[in-house]
């Protein structure tokens, strides 16, 4: 579907968002206050109670029309708030609905392009508490994850993470996720906010099926597999070249007893560590799971913040304020910048660039399929194995593929725009799934889309219909700008991985 037409519609969604009634399917509601029924991720054995001061909440961004394939629709109840909502409001953020939450889109100190560039030059802090954090543990947790994803979870090392996809039985992507191994039988993973209800229903149904197939009764379920949705946790993402220096200042260096190194320079992209912060008032936080990862293509960290007495508001607020401080290095950034940053980094937005209509190979994510999972005899069988392995062996069998585009100067190609073959009388050969003028590329128009197999090679010249004209474009590799993932040993690994799998 084409983007919203007319300023009137754009204004309705950005300015009047808080008053809109949104739809949402009935389902368990995330408690924002009160006793939390989820269990806190077990922290390292060291006790630190004495030191911890007891601490006394598209789719797509609102200005775009939500396409029909979005996995979450929203309800007639009020918009939800993350625990940091009051902080955003205090900062004067312009908010709007996203995945059933009233989320910050922009802050008054910077325009969208300014905030985007600030992230790549300094550091920005994003509240991503609307995303769903999960804990999965037990002797069968690993095997279960290997049936619903094509990843080599069995070889995933402790405190390492991997981008993965939850797959439905056809091989189509239900949701993308990052899975971290916490221990021999313990995992932490994060799924998209927009997919909350469908993902929870999917995991529940798949788990039931998995256990039944193993002859495990309901009464024995918990011994084998335990799944908790961490509804009371917060999640913030600190992204940008200055992220490490900012975070390092807050890390508590316990010279007496050190389970984990406080030196962030030894924490690489894709790794996690349990660390405490010392806040400006001198008090220490509990251990926090810090992962070197993100959704911007920059170096950065995601910090999972646990609740105390069912509420993570105070801790999340204190940690955020300590990072943003005087705003000279770290500034708050909203979903507007988040979207343009991830697009420049070639990263997908579920419900737009990827959906149940795309398998990982179609989505140029074939690399997530573990190397040792690529034979029909590999066990356990993952959802859609047959289809996916076939696509990996013969890529030409895929009808369409996700690729990037560089579009000529002028109006941007946006979601819903048709891709055409200028040499065949502008016959339609695909559609744009995301697009915008890139703030870090001097306004160069970039886009992502699904294109007919055969047209997918880099450099292929195509046309894109924007309003009344056909814009000149060419298929491009992604990311559009070089990634800055922190890999002191193996810097080029990402670039190679992504490039290798967009061709063929």
């Amino acid at each position: 579907m084409p983007p919203t037409r007319g300023i009137q519609n754009a204004l309705k969604s950005t300015i009047r968002a808080t008053r809109q009634q949104i739809r949402q399917p009935e389902g368990p509601k995330a408690p924002t206050r009160g006793v939390c029924t989820c269990s806190v991720i077990p922290t390292p054995s060291k006790t630190h109670q004495a030191e911890v001061r007891p601490f006394v909440h598209q789719q797509k961004l609102p200005t775009r029309v939500v396409p029909q394939k979005r996995c979450a629709s929203t309800s007639t109840t009020e918009l939800k708030h993350t625990p940091l909502y009051a902080v955003h409001k205090e900062a004067g953020a312009k908010t709007g609905p996203f995945a059933g939450y009233d989320m910050p889109l922009e802050y008054p100190d910077q325009s969208h392009p300014e905030s985007h560039r600030w992230t790549r030059e300094n550091a920005s802090l994003f509240d991503v508490s609307h995303m769903v954090q999960h804990k999965l543990s037990g002797p069968l947790a690993e095997e279960f994850l290997m049936t619903i994803t094509p990843s080599s979870i069995n070889t995933l090392q402790k405190h390492h993470s991997s981008l993965s996809c939850l797959l439905e039985e056809s091989g189509g992507i239900i949701g993308d996720t990052v899975i971290t191994r916490l221990g021999r039988e313990s995992f932490y993973f994060v799924t998209n906010a927009g997919c909350r209800e469908t993902d929870l229903a999917f995991i529940k149904a798949q788990m039931k099926k998995f256990l039944e197939a193993k002859g495990i009764s309901k009464s024995n379920k918990d011994e084998n597999i335990k799944w908790h949705v961490l509804n009371c946790h917060s999640l913030v993402a600190l992204q940008g070249p200055k992220a490490q220096e900012v975070l390092q200042k807050l890390i508590f260096n316990d010279t007496e007893e050190q389970t984990y190194s406080p030196d962030l320079s030894t924490l690489s992209f894709g790794e996690s560590r349990w660390l405490q912060f010392t806040l400006p008032d001198g008090m220490n936080t509990p251990s926090l799971l810090i992962s070197r990862t993100g959704y911007t293509g920059e170096d950065g960290f995601e910090i999972s913040i646990p609740p105390e007495n069912g509420d993570s508001t105070n801790l999340a607020t204190a940690i955020s304020k300590a990072m943003v401080d005087d705003g000279s290095v770290v500034r708050w950034a909203g979903l507007a910048a988040r979207d343009s940053l991830r697009l420049e980094a070639g990263m997908c937005l579920y419900g737009h660039d990827i959906s149940t209509e795309t398998t990982p190979p179609m989505a140029a994510l074939g690399w997530i399929v573990g190397k040792d999972r690529r034979s029909e005899s590999a066990a356990p069988v993952f959802n859609g194995q047959k289809t996916i392995l076939q696509q990996l062996t013969s890529p030409k069998s895929m009808t369409e593929r996700r690729v990037g585009f560089l579009v000529e100067k002028g109006p941007a190609a946006r979601e819903g725009a048709q891709i055409v073959d200028p040499d065949k009388d502008n016959e339609v050969i695909g559609r744009i799934t995301s697009g915008c003028p890139a703030p870090s590329m001097d306004g160069q128009n970039i886009a992502m889309g699904l294109i007919k197999n055969g047209y997918h090679k880099s450099g292929t010249k195509v046309g894109i219909k924007v309003r009344k004209s056909v814009r000149k474009a060419e298929v491009s590799r992604m990311p559009f700008i070089p990634s800055k993932f922190y890999r002191p040993d193996n810097k080029d690994k990402d670039q190679k991985e992504m490039k290798n799998n967009t061709e063929k």
């Binding site: 300023i7 009137q8 204004l11 969208h112 979207d339 109006p411 941007a412 003028p437 703030p439 306004g443």
Partner: protein, 150 residues
């Protein structure tokens, strides 16, 4: 003459008042529900139009402007161009029917001019108005201010 009474004088005055009001009405900026404005020139034939302060703020930094072609004829409500931010594209609709006589070419090089002065130097295009009465259906500044507060 005795017949030249106060009544005649009164009539002249009221005629003058009506004329004055009419002129003021024509030269004052008018607004649409689509957050566009139009301001007629002294001759009353050519109107300068653009997007409002309110709209420009909501859009954010404008990165690209699609201007109408000079000579283009349009009806009230027709799409005559677009303004784009990083996030989205918004159509510009003509507040009146007429013929485009000028486009603000400066916006091609410096689209951000719209953010600096959306109701001044960031004007979008000039139109030769076909039907003056269409202007009367548009909102005054007070009416528009009240409208956008809703």
């Amino acid at each position: 003459m005795a017949s030249r009474c106060a009544e005649d004088v009164h009539d002249e005055t009221s005629l003058y008042d009506e004329f004055a009001t009419m002129t003021t009405r024509i030269m004052v900026k008018k607004y649409t529900e689509e957050h566009e404005w139009i301001e007629m020139d002294e001759g009353g034939k050519i109107g300068t139009m653009g997007i409002t302060e309110y709209a420009a703020k909501a859009l954010g930094d404008v990165v690209y402007v699609e201007l109408p072609e000079v000579g283009m004829e349009c009806n009230k409500g027709d799409t005559i161009g677009a303004v784009e931010s990083v996030k989205s594209a918004s159509d510009i609709m003509s507040p009146v029917s007429g013929k485009i006589v000028e486009s603000n070419e400066a916006l091609s090089d410096k689209p951000a001019t719209i953010n600096k002065g959306p109701e001044a130097e960031g004007w979008f295009a000039k139109i030769e108005v076909q039907d003056q009465s269409e202007l009367e259906g548009l909102m005054s500044k007070e009416e528009y201010d009240a409208f956008e507060k809703d």
